[in-house]
Amino acid sequence: MSDKIRKVEGITKESTEALIAETLSVYPEKAKKKRAPHLGANDPASGSACVKSNKKTVPGVMSARGCAYAGAKGVVWGPIRDMVHVSHGPVGCGWYSWGTRRNMMSGITGVTSFPMQFTSDFQEKDIVYGGDKKLKTLLEEAHELFPLAKGISVLSECPVGLIGDDINSVAKQSAKELDIPIIPCNCEGFRGVSQSLGHHISNDTIRDFIIGTREYAEPESPYDIALIGEYNIGGDAWSTKPLLEECGFNVKSVWTGDGELEKIAATHKVKLNVIHCYRSMNYMCKVMEEKYGIPWVELNFFGPTKIRNSLRQLAELFDDTIKAKVEAVIAKYDPIMQAIVDEYKPRLDGKKVMLLVGGLRPRHTIGAYEDLGMDCVGSGYEFAHTDDYDRTAPEMPDATVVYDDPSEYEFEKFAAALKPDLVGSGIKEKYVFQKMGVPFRQMHSWDYSGPYHGYKGFEVFARDVDMAINSPTWKLVKAPF
């Protein structure tokens, strides 16, 4: 939570509400009624959501949202490096999500890690006759060609659920025959309202098929933790994991960035779960808390201020050894971070940013921008829930606009009014804003850069933000004739 309520010049509750009303004026009544509760002016003092969320997307309005399959394959499962993840159904879903989320992986491709696209490539006849038999064959082929894969996930696409295939029974039988874990995940894209249900389904699948099936070979220690909701985008986990280790922790598993199935399966043995992306993995933290009594803590690894607070918050849960190490780490990095701030802040101070991202960054990155002197003048999520918006309220300046699953139309209108110096959102929005001459960074994928997490990440983040905003190329946009 921020220290005090911040204001941005020119932004008031009234101005924001007028902007929202003006924006919605073009909508048909029904759509307007549906959309209105999802747009609001932030009230940091309240500490609670100013918008409704996690509702069905309004048809026809150009949402940025994905589907349950995207949440399952792209977010939760895809990053587990030593499994074969089968996109079960037609070719497209797997093809579109192949290599596009930037969850980086160690290992040897095709040998010990599998960042490839595996699909059953459904044809007409599979729809008519069902795909279970094909799935069974496919699992055998995968096991034969990739003998070192530690397991296989089967991620259902829409038709699978619609035609009534029983992947669970195929998975169960094949797992027995092939003697490897085969995890069926009923994450058909039509389920739920966004990626979010895909996360939830995947968490439940981990709960039902994975957790507790392995134990670490090495002895336990009081400093055993797991890093949850860290997907190693652009190498984030390669920044945060070493940082936690430098603080004295044993990071026994990462969920699921550069993840290993068996280490994930043994996570019920850790002493604390540290969660970064609350939205996508709070379910399993709660499960592990309830079932194995493992406490969990939600941290923020963006920008020195939030990292410092997070590390201290974490240290509070441990002994003096950890506390001392954490302070040493902070003391080591503070001057390095200050040097970065000193370099970039003069060029970024007072600049305004607008965000529209997934389920974490619309709030978690605000502090990092503020470390560079920037204000967040609007933020929103694709697939957040109320608890996310609750957590967002104190992070945003007073009365700034908050938007849930906004249409591209709404996002453009807000930006046109607020004139941000930078927009941070996804690939679908990127070139829209760049055409307008507005600097932009992809904040799902770090725009092919990264990491942005941890101390190591802040240097990259600051450089990228400076590059985006201060590139002289924007001066070229307006022709002098």
Partner: protein, 489 residues
């Protein structure tokens, strides 16, 4: 031991390094290749996407047209982001966001609400509807739905709302392109045929081509001829629009009036006999004038064929400027033939691109050693084989139909080549095989501005030749011993 779920609990054991090493070597062997090619069910790294993607491309090719996905919103996000990444351009499209209810009640409500909203907010001149899996599986009746939508006033009766069934579990993006384009043309030209009228124009259908430079090149060539034309599904301005401080939702596309009048043309040329098969079949029977279906004009010979067909259809001589251009392209090619002569290539991609790559490689003395078609029919195979049979450089080259990029990897590791032509997805296999990947085709996610450089026409031949030859020289310079590093190449 078992856990709470009754699942066995094991202690984690790391795979021994020597086993990792063994498998690492094994996947490069002939033995592995055989197992790999024996696959019946599993597809790994396919080089094709699904129908709706192509449908969206076609939709973007028309003025003021909003692509509309009847299906889950996640589908639309996937198509859009794919186009965004390839073109580094916006790709505005909506969906009607079907969810579970759709499975029960059908998608009409979503479609209607979606049309109403889309029309109100995005003010399109045409909404081009195409389907993703769900409505195809449940069997939505789009003819009826759209008729009802107009009757109920969700969209004006006069607004064209063509639609295409584009099930993802059949064909690839090129078929979706074909179906959507056909539907749009049928819709726009309905009742527009006027007895005796001839626009005097050529309809050019570039086919499912993701290279904006190609579209501009076609137009440049036709302008050199002085022939009036309508490019049908012209994505060039849609996906290569100026960055001038203004965002235009509908940045380009064929004028709807021109498209409507295209039925009264003097002639129609459809490029890409695979991606415009259905469309051409219908056009041939319904459009006035003469009709020709031609392969993509890649390389000199196929460009000659295109140029001569245009000249023939319009009874014109080939203009001097194009003759000179041809001569300059041949010059660029003869000047550099020694850098590509006899080099072996692996090529993969959509059938129309493949025909072009193979034709080009053969005419410059290279060998399209592995030709891998991710999805194609017997005709594709026959046409490719005929190209190979027509050149001594085609001897020993082999066509692999309906194979994927994991098959390609086995081919590269067991029967190496000098270079690969394909899309960005081949970069992993190329890295393992330590040969360059020439990024032509679609999608190109990891290099900039490639889609601005035409592959077709004489200029396209120069572009391909230049990129390939200079890369081979780069490699020589980068890898040669010091004593063989020299000023001239």
């Amino acid at each position: 031991m078992s856990n709470a779920l009754g699942l066995e609990v094991k202690t984690i054991v790391e795979t021994p390094p020597e086993e990792v090493e063994r498998v690492k070597e094994w996947i490069n062997t002939d033995e592995y290749k055989e197992k790999n090619f024996a696959r019946q069910a599993l597809v790994i790294n396919p080089a094709h996407a699904c129908q709706p993607l192509g449908a969206q491309l076609a939709a973007h090719g028309f003025e003021g047209t909003l692509p509309f996905v009847h299906g889950s919103q996640g589908c639309a996000s996937y198509y859009r982001s794919t186009l965004n990444r390839h073109f580094r351009e916006p790709a505005p499209a909506v969906s009607d966001a079907m969810t579970e209810d759709g499975a029960v009640f059908g998608g009409q409500n979503n479609l209607h609400e979606g049309l109403e909203n889309a029309y109100a907010i995005y003010k399109p001149k045409m909404i081009a509807v195409f389907t993703s899996c769900m409505p195809e599986v449940i069997g939505d009746d789009l003819t009826a739905f759209i008729k009802n939508a107009k009757q109920k006033g969700f969209v004006p009766k006069e607004m064209p709302v063509p639609y295409a069934n584009t099930p993802s579990f059949s064909g690839t993006h090129i078929n979706g392109y074909d179906s959507m384009l056909l539907s749009i043309l049928q819709n726009l030209t309905e009742g527009k045929q006027i007895e005796g009228r001839c626009t005097g124009k050529l309809n050019l259908i570039p086919g499912c081509d993701f290279n904006t430079g190609d579209y501009r090149e076609y137009k440049r060539i036709l302008e050199a001829f002085g022939i009036p034309y309508t490019v049908l599904a012209d994505i060039s301005d849609s996906f290569d629009s100026p960055c001038d401080g203004n965002y235009h939702l509908y940045a380009g596309g064929t004028k709807l009036d021109d498209a409507a009048d295209s039925i009264n043309c003097k002639a129609t040329i459809a490029i890409g006999s695979y991606s415009t098969a259905k469309t051409f079949g219908w056009v041939k029977d319904n459009f006035s004038g003469k009709h020709a279906s031609l392969p993509m004009p890649m390389g000199i010979e196929k460009t000659d064929a295109f140029i001569m067909k245009v000249a023939e259809l319009f009874g014109k001589d080939v203009p001097a400027s194009l003759k000179n251009e041809r001569g300059r392209a041949v010059d660029a090619i003869t000047d550099s033939h020694q850098y590509i002569h006899g080099k072996k290539f692996a090529v993969y991609g959509d059938p129309d691109y493949l025909m072009g790559y193979v034709s080009f490689l053969l005419e410059v003395g290279a060998r399209p050693h592995h030709i891998l078609c991710s999805r194609g029919n017997k005709k594709v195979e026959k046409d490719l084989q005929a190209l190979l049979d027509g050149s001594p450089f085609g001897q020993g080259c082999k066509i692999y139909m309906n194979k994927d990029l994991w098959h390609l990897r086995s081919l590269l590791m067991t029967d190496p080549v000098d270079g690969i032509i394909g899309d960005s997805h081949g970069k992993f296999a190329a890295r393992d095989a330590k040969v360059p990947l020439f990024r032509f085709g679609f999608p190109i996610f990891d290099r900039v501005n490639k889609h601005r450089y035409p592959l077709i026409g004489y200029q396209g031949a120069i572009n391909m030749m230049t990129e390939i030859c200079n890369k081979f020289i780069d490699i020589k310079d980068d890898t040669c011993e010091d004593r063989l590093f020299e000023l001239m190449r």
